[in-house]
Amino acid sequence: MIALKNDRHIEEFVVIHPLYDEPEQKMSGVELGRMPMSKPVRVSLLLLRGYLILMFMLLGFHILDLAGAFGHH
Protein backbone atom coordinates (compact mmCIF):
# COMPACT_ATOMS: atom_id res chain seq x y z
CA MET A 1 0.00 0.00 0.00
CA ILE A 2 1.42 3.32 -1.02
CA ALA A 3 0.12 6.82 -0.19
CA LEU A 4 0.54 9.54 -2.83
CA LYS A 5 -0.40 13.22 -3.11
CA ASN A 6 -1.44 14.47 -6.54
CA ASP A 7 -1.28 18.00 -7.93
CA ARG A 8 -4.52 19.05 -6.19
CA HIS A 9 -3.11 17.74 -2.89
CA ILE A 10 -5.81 15.12 -2.65
CA GLU A 11 -4.38 12.06 -1.00
CA GLU A 12 -4.45 8.97 -3.15
CA PHE A 13 -3.56 5.45 -2.21
CA VAL A 14 -2.20 2.72 -4.38
CA VAL A 15 -3.34 -0.68 -3.21
CA ILE A 16 -1.33 -3.59 -4.55
CA HIS A 17 -2.38 -7.20 -4.36
CA PRO A 18 0.07 -9.18 -2.19
CA LEU A 19 0.75 -11.58 -5.05
CA TYR A 20 2.04 -8.74 -7.25
CA ASP A 21 3.82 -6.63 -4.63
CA GLU A 22 7.58 -6.45 -4.13
CA PRO A 23 8.79 -9.41 -2.01
CA GLU A 24 9.45 -8.59 1.65
CA GLN A 25 12.39 -9.71 3.73
CA LYS A 26 10.88 -12.38 6.00
CA MET A 27 12.22 -13.77 9.25
CA SER A 28 13.51 -17.12 8.07
CA GLY A 29 14.30 -20.04 10.34
CA VAL A 30 16.67 -21.61 7.78
CA GLU A 31 19.79 -19.80 9.02
CA LEU A 32 18.78 -20.13 12.65
CA GLY A 33 18.80 -23.92 12.69
CA ARG A 34 17.24 -25.79 15.59
CA MET A 35 15.45 -24.03 18.41
CA PRO A 36 17.61 -23.61 21.53
CA MET A 37 16.60 -26.21 24.13
CA SER A 38 15.58 -23.84 26.90
CA LYS A 39 13.90 -25.33 29.96
CA PRO A 40 10.30 -24.62 28.79
CA VAL A 41 11.03 -26.12 25.35
CA ARG A 42 12.69 -29.20 26.87
CA VAL A 43 9.84 -29.76 29.35
CA SER A 44 7.17 -29.26 26.65
CA LEU A 45 8.81 -31.77 24.31
CA LEU A 46 9.30 -34.23 27.16
CA LEU A 47 5.62 -33.97 28.11
CA LEU A 48 4.68 -34.41 24.47
CA ARG A 49 6.78 -37.57 24.22
CA GLY A 50 5.13 -38.90 27.38
CA TYR A 51 1.67 -38.10 26.03
CA LEU A 52 2.39 -39.80 22.71
CA ILE A 53 3.85 -42.90 24.39
CA LEU A 54 0.78 -43.13 26.65
CA MET A 55 -1.60 -42.73 23.72
CA PHE A 56 0.18 -45.36 21.63
CA MET A 57 0.14 -47.75 24.61
CA LEU A 58 -3.61 -47.19 24.99
CA LEU A 59 -4.08 -47.76 21.28
CA GLY A 60 -2.03 -50.96 21.46
CA PHE A 61 -4.04 -52.11 24.47
CA HIS A 62 -7.28 -51.43 22.62
CA ILE A 63 -6.15 -53.35 19.54
CA LEU A 64 -5.05 -56.34 21.68
CA ASP A 65 -8.35 -56.15 23.56
CA LEU A 66 -10.32 -56.18 20.32
CA ALA A 67 -8.23 -59.14 19.16
CA GLY A 68 -9.26 -61.05 22.29
CA ALA A 69 -5.77 -61.12 23.82
CA PHE A 70 -7.20 -60.59 27.30
CA GLY A 71 -9.59 -63.49 27.00
CA HIS A 72 -12.95 -61.82 27.61
CA HIS A 73 -14.25 -61.82 24.05
Binding site: M1, I2, F13, V14, I16, H17, L19, M27, L32
Partner: protein, 432 residues
Amino acid sequence: MVGSNLQPTAAGRVVNSARKRNLLTFLMVVGPGLIVMEADNDAGAVSTYTQAGALYGTHLLWIMLLLLPIAYFVQEMVARLGIVTGQGHAAMIYQRFGKWWGAFSLFDLQLANFLTLITEFAAISLAMSKLGVSPFIAVPLSAVALISLVFTGSYLRWERIVIGLCLLDVAWFAMAAACAPKWGSAAHNSVVPNLPSGRITTSLIFLVIALVGTTIAPWQLFFQQSCVADKKLRFADLKWARLDTMIGAIFTILVGGAMILVGDAAFRHHLKYVDPSQLALDLAPIAGSFVKNALLLMMVNAAVLGTTAISLSSAWAYGEVKGWPHSLHKKVKDAPGFYIVYALCVFGAAGVVLIPQMPLPLVILSVQVLAGLMLPSAIIFLQLMLNDRELLGDRYVNRPWNNWVNWIIIVLLFSLSLVLGLQVVLPNLFPA
Protein backbone atom coordinates in the same frame (compact mmCIF):
# COMPACT_ATOMS: atom_id res chain seq x y z
CA MET B 1 4.99 3.15 2.94
CA VAL B 2 4.42 6.87 2.32
CA GLY B 3 6.30 8.91 -0.23
CA SER B 4 5.46 11.46 -2.93
CA ASN B 5 7.99 10.04 -5.38
CA LEU B 6 6.40 6.62 -5.55
CA GLN B 7 4.55 5.73 -8.71
CA PRO B 8 1.66 3.30 -8.89
CA THR B 9 2.55 0.05 -10.61
CA ALA B 10 0.49 -1.68 -13.25
CA ALA B 11 -0.70 -4.18 -10.65
CA GLY B 12 -1.93 -1.50 -8.21
CA ARG B 13 -5.34 0.10 -7.85
CA VAL B 14 -5.56 3.82 -7.02
CA VAL B 15 -8.22 4.92 -4.49
CA ASN B 16 -8.84 8.34 -2.99
CA SER B 17 -9.73 7.63 0.61
CA ALA B 18 -8.30 5.67 3.50
CA ARG B 19 -11.60 3.87 3.95
CA LYS B 20 -11.57 2.62 0.35
CA ARG B 21 -7.94 1.66 0.74
CA ASN B 22 -8.76 -0.42 3.81
CA LEU B 23 -11.74 -2.08 2.15
CA LEU B 24 -9.79 -2.89 -1.01
CA THR B 25 -6.82 -4.18 0.96
CA PHE B 26 -9.09 -6.42 3.02
CA LEU B 27 -10.75 -7.76 -0.13
CA MET B 28 -7.32 -8.57 -1.54
CA VAL B 29 -6.18 -10.29 1.65
CA VAL B 30 -9.37 -12.20 2.50
CA GLY B 31 -9.27 -15.87 1.60
CA PRO B 32 -6.98 -18.13 3.62
CA GLY B 33 -8.83 -17.53 6.92
CA LEU B 34 -12.30 -17.88 5.46
CA ILE B 35 -11.36 -20.94 3.42
CA VAL B 36 -9.57 -22.78 6.22
CA MET B 37 -12.49 -22.26 8.56
CA GLU B 38 -15.27 -23.08 6.13
CA ALA B 39 -13.42 -26.05 4.61
CA ASP B 40 -13.35 -27.40 8.14
CA ASN B 41 -17.12 -27.73 7.87
CA ASP B 42 -16.39 -30.69 5.64
CA ALA B 43 -18.33 -33.94 5.16
CA GLY B 44 -17.17 -35.25 8.53
CA ALA B 45 -18.38 -32.08 10.19
CA VAL B 46 -21.77 -32.37 8.49
CA SER B 47 -22.02 -35.89 9.87
CA THR B 48 -20.82 -35.00 13.38
CA TYR B 49 -22.92 -31.85 13.76
CA THR B 50 -26.12 -33.36 12.39
CA GLN B 51 -25.54 -36.41 14.57
CA ALA B 52 -25.10 -34.16 17.61
CA GLY B 53 -28.43 -32.52 16.78
CA ALA B 54 -30.19 -35.79 16.03
CA LEU B 55 -29.04 -37.44 19.28
CA TYR B 56 -29.12 -34.52 21.69
CA GLY B 57 -31.25 -31.81 20.07
CA THR B 58 -29.86 -28.34 20.65
CA HIS B 59 -28.28 -29.25 23.99
CA LEU B 60 -24.70 -29.18 22.67
CA LEU B 61 -24.95 -25.79 20.94
CA TRP B 62 -23.08 -24.10 23.81
CA ILE B 63 -20.00 -26.14 22.91
CA MET B 64 -19.97 -24.40 19.53
CA LEU B 65 -19.81 -21.04 21.24
CA LEU B 66 -16.84 -22.25 23.31
CA LEU B 67 -15.11 -23.50 20.18
CA LEU B 68 -15.32 -20.10 18.46
CA PRO B 69 -12.48 -18.37 20.40
CA ILE B 70 -10.45 -21.58 20.37
CA ALA B 71 -10.70 -21.84 16.57
CA TYR B 72 -9.82 -18.16 16.16
CA PHE B 73 -6.84 -18.05 18.53
CA VAL B 74 -5.26 -21.19 17.10
CA GLN B 75 -5.62 -20.07 13.49
CA GLU B 76 -4.54 -16.49 14.23
CA MET B 77 -1.23 -17.90 15.44
CA VAL B 78 -0.58 -19.80 12.21
CA ALA B 79 -1.57 -16.79 10.11
CA ARG B 80 0.91 -14.68 12.10
CA LEU B 81 3.62 -17.32 11.75
CA GLY B 82 3.01 -17.60 8.01
CA ILE B 83 3.15 -13.84 7.43
CA VAL B 84 6.26 -13.30 9.52
CA THR B 85 8.28 -16.24 8.18
CA GLY B 86 6.82 -16.59 4.67
CA GLN B 87 7.08 -20.34 5.15
CA GLY B 88 4.72 -23.24 5.76
CA HIS B 89 4.15 -25.06 9.03
CA ALA B 90 5.88 -28.32 8.06
CA ALA B 91 9.02 -26.47 7.00
CA MET B 92 9.08 -24.55 10.29
CA ILE B 93 8.80 -27.74 12.39
CA TYR B 94 11.66 -29.34 10.43
CA GLN B 95 13.86 -26.28 10.78
CA ARG B 96 13.23 -25.56 14.45
CA PHE B 97 12.67 -29.02 15.97
CA GLY B 98 14.78 -31.26 13.75
CA LYS B 99 14.14 -34.21 11.46
CA TRP B 100 12.55 -36.57 14.00
CA TRP B 101 9.75 -34.26 15.04
CA GLY B 102 9.46 -32.99 11.48
CA ALA B 103 9.00 -36.50 10.09
CA PHE B 104 6.60 -37.40 12.91
CA SER B 105 4.42 -34.35 12.23
CA LEU B 106 4.46 -34.93 8.49
CA PHE B 107 3.53 -38.61 8.87
CA ASP B 108 0.69 -37.74 11.27
CA LEU B 109 -0.58 -35.12 8.91
CA GLN B 110 -0.51 -37.33 5.84
CA LEU B 111 -2.20 -40.25 7.65
CA ALA B 112 -4.96 -38.17 9.20
CA ASN B 113 -5.44 -36.27 5.93
CA PHE B 114 -5.74 -39.40 3.83
CA LEU B 115 -8.30 -40.97 6.19
CA THR B 116 -10.24 -37.72 6.18
CA LEU B 117 -10.16 -37.57 2.37
CA ILE B 118 -11.70 -41.04 2.25
CA THR B 119 -14.63 -39.73 4.30
CA GLU B 120 -15.02 -36.76 1.95
CA PHE B 121 -15.37 -38.99 -1.10
CA ALA B 122 -17.56 -41.41 0.82
CA ALA B 123 -19.89 -38.52 1.53
CA ILE B 124 -19.93 -37.53 -2.14
CA SER B 125 -20.74 -41.12 -3.02
CA LEU B 126 -23.56 -41.34 -0.45
CA ALA B 127 -25.14 -37.99 -1.28
CA MET B 128 -24.98 -38.41 -5.05
CA SER B 129 -26.38 -41.95 -4.88
CA LYS B 130 -29.36 -40.54 -2.95
CA LEU B 131 -29.74 -38.00 -5.75
CA GLY B 132 -29.82 -40.87 -8.25
CA VAL B 133 -26.25 -40.63 -9.56
CA SER B 134 -24.09 -43.75 -9.43
CA PRO B 135 -20.99 -43.47 -7.19
CA PHE B 136 -18.99 -44.90 -10.09
CA ILE B 137 -19.83 -41.74 -12.03
CA ALA B 138 -20.01 -39.18 -9.18
CA VAL B 139 -16.75 -40.05 -7.42
CA PRO B 140 -14.41 -40.08 -10.46
CA LEU B 141 -16.08 -36.94 -11.84
CA SER B 142 -15.62 -35.15 -8.53
CA ALA B 143 -11.98 -36.22 -8.42
CA VAL B 144 -11.36 -34.88 -11.92
CA ALA B 145 -13.12 -31.60 -11.06
CA LEU B 146 -11.03 -31.23 -7.91
CA ILE B 147 -7.84 -31.80 -9.88
CA SER B 148 -8.91 -29.28 -12.54
CA LEU B 149 -9.62 -26.70 -9.85
CA VAL B 150 -5.99 -26.67 -8.79
CA PHE B 151 -4.10 -27.53 -11.95
CA THR B 152 -4.77 -24.16 -13.63
CA GLY B 153 -1.59 -22.66 -12.21
CA SER B 154 -3.44 -19.67 -10.77
CA TYR B 155 -3.71 -19.11 -7.03
CA LEU B 156 -6.31 -16.39 -7.54
CA ARG B 157 -8.56 -18.54 -9.72
CA TRP B 158 -8.47 -21.35 -7.15
CA GLU B 159 -9.13 -18.93 -4.28
CA ARG B 160 -12.06 -17.18 -5.96
CA ILE B 161 -13.80 -20.43 -6.85
CA VAL B 162 -13.27 -21.84 -3.35
CA ILE B 163 -14.54 -18.65 -1.66
CA GLY B 164 -17.64 -18.98 -3.85
CA LEU B 165 -18.11 -22.55 -2.62
CA CYS B 166 -17.64 -21.36 0.98
CA LEU B 167 -20.35 -18.74 0.57
CA LEU B 168 -22.77 -21.40 -0.69
CA ASP B 169 -22.82 -22.59 2.92
CA VAL B 170 -25.37 -19.87 3.72
CA ALA B 171 -27.82 -22.50 2.41
CA TRP B 172 -27.44 -24.18 5.82
CA PHE B 173 -29.20 -21.22 7.44
CA ALA B 174 -32.15 -21.62 5.06
CA MET B 175 -32.23 -25.36 5.78
CA ALA B 176 -32.19 -24.76 9.53
CA ALA B 177 -35.04 -22.26 9.22
CA ALA B 178 -37.03 -24.67 7.03
CA CYS B 179 -36.76 -27.27 9.80
CA ALA B 180 -38.66 -24.86 12.10
CA PRO B 181 -36.47 -25.22 15.19
CA LYS B 182 -37.52 -24.02 18.62
CA TRP B 183 -35.55 -20.79 18.45
CA GLY B 184 -36.00 -19.97 22.13
CA SER B 185 -34.52 -23.18 23.45
CA ALA B 186 -31.82 -23.10 20.75
CA ALA B 187 -30.78 -19.60 21.88
CA HIS B 188 -30.85 -20.71 25.52
CA ASN B 189 -28.78 -23.82 24.84
CA SER B 190 -26.29 -21.77 22.83
CA VAL B 191 -25.27 -19.69 25.82
CA VAL B 192 -26.15 -21.83 28.87
CA PRO B 193 -23.96 -24.94 29.26
CA ASN B 194 -26.08 -28.01 29.93
CA LEU B 195 -26.01 -31.77 29.44
CA PRO B 196 -28.66 -33.54 27.38
CA SER B 197 -29.78 -36.10 29.93
CA GLY B 198 -28.21 -34.43 32.94
CA ARG B 199 -25.41 -37.02 33.02
CA ILE B 200 -22.23 -37.90 31.20
CA THR B 201 -22.41 -40.99 29.00
CA THR B 202 -19.86 -42.73 26.80
CA SER B 203 -21.56 -41.68 23.56
CA LEU B 204 -21.78 -38.10 24.79
CA ILE B 205 -18.05 -38.01 25.59
CA PHE B 206 -17.20 -39.43 22.17
CA LEU B 207 -19.45 -36.90 20.48
CA VAL B 208 -17.99 -33.95 22.41
CA ILE B 209 -14.46 -35.05 21.46
CA ALA B 210 -15.60 -35.48 17.87
CA LEU B 211 -17.10 -31.97 17.94
CA VAL B 212 -13.79 -30.53 19.11
CA GLY B 213 -11.88 -32.71 16.64
CA THR B 214 -14.01 -31.59 13.74
CA THR B 215 -13.93 -27.88 14.58
CA ILE B 216 -10.16 -27.66 15.09
CA ALA B 217 -8.20 -30.12 12.97
CA PRO B 218 -4.40 -30.49 12.55
CA TRP B 219 -4.53 -30.00 8.79
CA GLN B 220 -5.89 -26.50 9.36
CA LEU B 221 -2.64 -25.37 10.97
CA PHE B 222 -0.60 -26.59 8.03
CA PHE B 223 -3.08 -25.32 5.44
CA GLN B 224 -3.46 -21.74 6.61
CA GLN B 225 0.23 -21.12 7.20
CA SER B 226 1.14 -22.50 3.77
CA CYS B 227 -1.74 -20.64 2.13
CA VAL B 228 -0.71 -17.34 3.73
CA ALA B 229 2.88 -17.94 2.60
CA ASP B 230 1.77 -18.91 -0.93
CA LYS B 231 -0.37 -15.78 -1.16
CA LYS B 232 2.70 -13.78 -0.08
CA LEU B 233 0.83 -11.81 2.58
CA ARG B 234 2.89 -8.92 3.91
CA PHE B 235 3.55 -7.74 7.46
CA ALA B 236 1.07 -4.90 6.91
CA ASP B 237 -1.60 -7.45 5.98
CA LEU B 238 -1.56 -9.07 9.41
CA LYS B 239 -4.52 -7.13 10.79
CA TRP B 240 -6.57 -7.99 7.70
CA ALA B 241 -5.52 -11.63 7.93
CA ARG B 242 -6.74 -11.59 11.52
CA LEU B 243 -10.07 -10.11 10.42
CA ASP B 244 -10.29 -12.73 7.65
CA THR B 245 -9.69 -15.46 10.26
CA MET B 246 -12.21 -13.96 12.68
CA ILE B 247 -14.93 -13.71 10.01
CA GLY B 248 -14.15 -17.27 8.94
CA ALA B 249 -14.37 -18.52 12.52
CA ILE B 250 -17.71 -16.82 13.16
CA PHE B 251 -19.13 -18.03 9.85
CA THR B 252 -18.01 -21.62 10.36
CA ILE B 253 -19.42 -21.77 13.90
CA LEU B 254 -22.74 -20.33 12.72
CA VAL B 255 -22.88 -22.85 9.88
CA GLY B 256 -21.98 -25.65 12.32
CA GLY B 257 -24.78 -24.47 14.60
CA ALA B 258 -27.19 -24.52 11.63
CA MET B 259 -26.16 -28.13 10.95
CA ILE B 260 -27.00 -29.02 14.55
CA LEU B 261 -30.41 -27.37 14.09
CA VAL B 262 -31.03 -29.48 10.99
CA GLY B 263 -30.13 -32.59 13.00
CA ASP B 264 -32.36 -31.36 15.81
CA ALA B 265 -35.36 -31.80 13.49
CA ALA B 266 -34.69 -35.55 13.59
CA PHE B 267 -34.43 -35.39 17.40
CA ARG B 268 -37.77 -33.61 17.73
CA HIS B 269 -39.52 -35.99 15.36
CA HIS B 270 -37.91 -39.10 16.90
CA LEU B 271 -36.18 -40.14 13.68
CA LYS B 272 -33.38 -42.69 13.88
CA TYR B 273 -30.05 -41.16 12.80
CA VAL B 274 -28.00 -43.18 10.34
CA ASP B 275 -25.99 -40.63 8.33
CA PRO B 276 -26.61 -37.17 6.82
CA SER B 277 -27.81 -38.52 3.47
CA GLN B 278 -30.40 -40.74 5.16
CA LEU B 279 -31.33 -37.76 7.35
CA ALA B 280 -32.06 -35.80 4.16
CA LEU B 281 -34.48 -38.49 2.98
CA ASP B 282 -36.10 -38.82 6.41
CA LEU B 283 -36.62 -35.06 6.74
CA ALA B 284 -38.23 -34.70 3.31
CA PRO B 285 -41.80 -35.48 4.50
CA ILE B 286 -41.38 -33.12 7.46
CA ALA B 287 -39.36 -30.19 6.12
CA GLY B 288 -39.96 -30.51 2.38
CA SER B 289 -37.97 -31.44 -0.69
CA PHE B 290 -35.87 -28.25 -0.46
CA VAL B 291 -34.24 -29.52 2.74
CA LYS B 292 -33.72 -32.96 1.25
CA ASN B 293 -32.07 -31.73 -1.95
CA ALA B 294 -30.16 -28.90 -0.29
CA LEU B 295 -28.81 -31.19 2.42
CA LEU B 296 -27.55 -33.69 -0.14
CA LEU B 297 -26.01 -30.99 -2.34
CA MET B 298 -24.41 -29.22 0.62
CA MET B 299 -22.92 -32.53 1.72
CA VAL B 300 -21.20 -32.66 -1.66
CA ASN B 301 -20.13 -29.02 -1.36
CA ALA B 302 -18.70 -29.65 2.11
CA ALA B 303 -16.78 -32.67 0.82
CA VAL B 304 -15.40 -30.75 -2.17
CA LEU B 305 -14.24 -27.87 0.06
CA GLY B 306 -12.68 -30.28 2.53
CA THR B 307 -10.95 -32.27 -0.19
CA THR B 308 -9.28 -29.35 -1.93
CA ALA B 309 -8.08 -27.79 1.34
CA ILE B 310 -6.87 -31.03 2.93
CA SER B 311 -5.13 -32.26 -0.24
CA LEU B 312 -3.44 -28.89 -0.58
CA SER B 313 -2.25 -28.98 3.02
CA SER B 314 -0.64 -32.36 2.24
CA ALA B 315 0.90 -31.15 -1.02
CA TRP B 316 2.23 -27.92 0.47
CA ALA B 317 3.68 -29.72 3.50
CA TYR B 318 5.37 -32.39 1.39
CA GLY B 319 6.72 -29.82 -1.04
CA GLU B 320 8.13 -27.69 1.78
CA VAL B 321 9.87 -30.61 3.45
CA LYS B 322 11.26 -32.03 0.21
CA GLY B 323 12.35 -28.61 -0.99
CA TRP B 324 10.27 -28.94 -4.15
CA PRO B 325 8.61 -25.95 -5.80
CA HIS B 326 5.22 -25.82 -4.08
CA SER B 327 2.94 -23.04 -5.17
CA LEU B 328 -0.45 -22.65 -6.77
CA HIS B 329 1.08 -19.86 -8.92
CA LYS B 330 3.28 -22.35 -10.65
CA LYS B 331 2.29 -24.34 -13.69
CA VAL B 332 2.22 -28.13 -13.40
CA LYS B 333 5.48 -28.49 -15.34
CA ASP B 334 7.22 -26.08 -12.91
CA ALA B 335 6.05 -27.80 -9.69
CA PRO B 336 5.40 -31.43 -10.69
CA GLY B 337 5.98 -32.93 -7.22
CA PHE B 338 3.53 -30.56 -5.56
CA TYR B 339 0.78 -31.32 -8.07
CA ILE B 340 1.49 -35.06 -8.08
CA VAL B 341 1.02 -35.23 -4.28
CA TYR B 342 -2.27 -33.33 -4.62
CA ALA B 343 -3.45 -35.66 -7.39
CA LEU B 344 -2.37 -38.77 -5.46
CA CYS B 345 -4.34 -37.63 -2.41
CA VAL B 346 -7.47 -37.01 -4.49
CA PHE B 347 -7.33 -40.09 -6.71
CA GLY B 348 -6.13 -42.38 -3.89
CA ALA B 349 -9.01 -41.48 -1.58
CA ALA B 350 -11.52 -41.60 -4.45
CA GLY B 351 -10.30 -45.08 -5.37
CA VAL B 352 -10.61 -46.41 -1.82
CA VAL B 353 -14.19 -45.16 -1.57
CA LEU B 354 -15.24 -47.20 -4.59
CA ILE B 355 -14.44 -50.37 -2.62
CA PRO B 356 -17.84 -51.78 -1.60
CA GLN B 357 -19.18 -52.04 2.00
CA MET B 358 -17.41 -49.05 3.57
CA PRO B 359 -18.72 -48.48 7.16
CA LEU B 360 -18.93 -44.70 6.64
CA PRO B 361 -20.35 -43.34 9.94
CA LEU B 362 -17.78 -45.33 11.89
CA VAL B 363 -14.95 -44.12 9.63
CA ILE B 364 -16.10 -40.51 9.95
CA LEU B 365 -16.32 -40.61 13.72
CA SER B 366 -12.94 -42.40 13.96
CA VAL B 367 -11.29 -39.74 11.84
CA GLN B 368 -12.68 -36.95 14.03
CA VAL B 369 -11.51 -38.73 17.16
CA LEU B 370 -8.08 -39.36 15.58
CA ALA B 371 -7.81 -35.68 14.76
CA GLY B 372 -8.81 -34.83 18.33
CA LEU B 373 -5.99 -37.10 19.55
CA MET B 374 -3.36 -35.62 17.24
CA LEU B 375 -4.26 -31.99 17.73
CA PRO B 376 -2.59 -31.51 21.14
CA SER B 377 0.86 -32.35 19.75
CA ALA B 378 0.39 -30.00 16.82
CA ILE B 379 -0.68 -27.22 19.17
CA ILE B 380 2.42 -27.72 21.36
CA PHE B 381 4.71 -27.09 18.38
CA LEU B 382 2.66 -24.04 17.47
CA GLN B 383 2.87 -22.65 20.98
CA LEU B 384 6.64 -23.16 21.13
CA MET B 385 7.18 -21.51 17.75
CA LEU B 386 5.00 -18.53 18.68
CA ASN B 387 7.25 -18.02 21.71
CA ASP B 388 10.37 -18.28 19.60
CA ARG B 389 11.79 -14.79 20.08
CA GLU B 390 14.87 -15.65 18.01
CA LEU B 391 12.62 -16.39 15.02
CA LEU B 392 9.77 -13.91 15.39
CA GLY B 393 11.41 -11.03 17.24
CA ASP B 394 9.73 -9.05 20.00
CA ARG B 395 7.00 -7.66 17.80
CA TYR B 396 5.38 -10.86 16.59
CA VAL B 397 6.06 -13.23 19.45
CA ASN B 398 3.10 -14.23 21.65
CA ARG B 399 2.05 -11.77 24.36
CA PRO B 400 1.56 -13.15 27.90
CA TRP B 401 -2.22 -13.12 27.46
CA ASN B 402 -1.84 -15.09 24.20
CA ASN B 403 0.09 -17.69 26.14
CA TRP B 404 -2.49 -17.91 28.89
CA VAL B 405 -5.26 -18.46 26.35
CA ASN B 406 -3.18 -21.02 24.47
CA TRP B 407 -2.19 -22.99 27.54
CA ILE B 408 -5.86 -23.18 28.55
CA ILE B 409 -6.63 -24.53 25.06
CA ILE B 410 -3.75 -27.01 25.31
CA VAL B 411 -4.87 -28.26 28.75
CA LEU B 412 -8.44 -28.62 27.46
CA LEU B 413 -7.35 -30.59 24.40
CA PHE B 414 -5.01 -32.83 26.38
CA SER B 415 -7.75 -33.47 28.97
CA LEU B 416 -10.23 -34.50 26.27
CA SER B 417 -7.62 -36.78 24.71
CA LEU B 418 -6.82 -38.38 28.06
CA VAL B 419 -10.52 -38.95 28.77
CA LEU B 420 -10.78 -40.62 25.37
CA GLY B 421 -7.75 -42.78 26.15
CA LEU B 422 -9.05 -43.73 29.59
CA GLN B 423 -12.36 -44.74 28.09
CA VAL B 424 -10.53 -47.17 25.86
CA VAL B 425 -8.92 -48.86 28.88
CA LEU B 426 -11.91 -48.50 31.18
CA PRO B 427 -14.98 -48.80 28.93
CA ASN B 428 -17.31 -48.57 31.94
CA LEU B 429 -15.81 -45.30 33.15
CA PHE B 430 -19.03 -43.53 32.13
CA PRO B 431 -22.50 -45.08 31.81
CA ALA B 432 -23.45 -46.30 28.36
